[in-house]
């Protein structure tokens, strides 16, 4: 399956990329944490990372399906 991955703000700068498309073995059920491992390699997910799947806030355990958009970003600071 194919997943679109996005990074924002300080996380985008730390990882040096804002968006990428990855292919994942379709036989395995995938989680947000699994997507992180595939794109960030050895780098552990920072404690305060916020995750979203298809524009809805998610957790590292949330399941990811083919075509989903997964995003990682730091705590929000708008307003």
């Amino acid at each position: 399956m194919t997943v679109n991955v996005k990074f924002f703000a300080s996380m985008r700068e730390t990882l040096g990329q804002s968006e990428l498309r990855i292919d994942i073995d379709t036989d395995t059920e995938q989680t947000v944490a699994g997507v992180w491992a595939q794109v960030a390699g050895e780098k552990p997910m920072p404690d305060n990372t916020v995750c979203a799947v298809n524009h809805t806030q998610a957790t590292p355990e949330s399941v990811v399906k083919d075509g989903d958009e997964v995003a990682f970003f730091p705590p929000v600071t708008g307003g």
Binding site: K6, F8, A9, S10, A52, H55, T56, Q57, A71, F73, P74, P75, V76, T77, G78, G79
Partner: protein, 148 residues
């Protein structure tokens, strides 16, 4: 109900006026509460000369609409407007406007406060400050409106 993400400087009072003129009927609302957040030229003891606001196109709008839906379900609102600036911002420029219209003032006040607190804790926006020595830093944590 409207959510506007805005890449250029905006006039919040004109935005309230325009929304009121185009969306609300005279005589139907009795109470309007608004909040405007404006960029200061100081933060955490340092002089700030500019700011960049990043957002997550698509998710930001969806989250703001979700927050407005929650307010509509909690208070008898006639209308609500959220305008949020993104991009390069200078001191004195408005960052965010929240406006709520209701028949009664308690609903307008409470919903306006709720929308601001929810926006600050849940809407995907990130601030990066440029200090007067040209260094940049990401703002790490929003202030708590109830304690500051």
């Amino acid at each position: 109900m409207a959510v506007i993400i805005c890449e250029a400087a905006f006039d919040p009072w004109q935005a309230v006026q325009n929304h009121q003129n185009s969306q609300l009927a005279d005589g139907q609302y009795g109470a309007t509460a608004t909040f405007v957040g404006t960029m200061r030229d100081f933060n955490e003891g340092d002089d700030v000369c500019a700011m960049t606001l990043e957002h997550y196109p698509g998710m930001t709008e969806a989250q703001l609409e979700q927050i407005i839906d929650e307010a509509k379900n909690s208070w008898p609102l006639q209308d609500a407007l959220v305008v949020h600036r993104v991009g390069e911002i200078l001191p004195g420029e408005p960052i965010v406007l929240v406006a709520c219209w209701s028949a009664h003032r308690a609903a307008a006040f409470d919903a306006c406060r709720f929308l601001m607190e929810a926006l600050k804790s849940r809407a995907p926006f990130w601030k990066k400050e440029t200090l007067t020595d040209n260094s940049q830093r990401w703002v790490e944590k929003n202030t708590d409106g109830y304690s500051h």
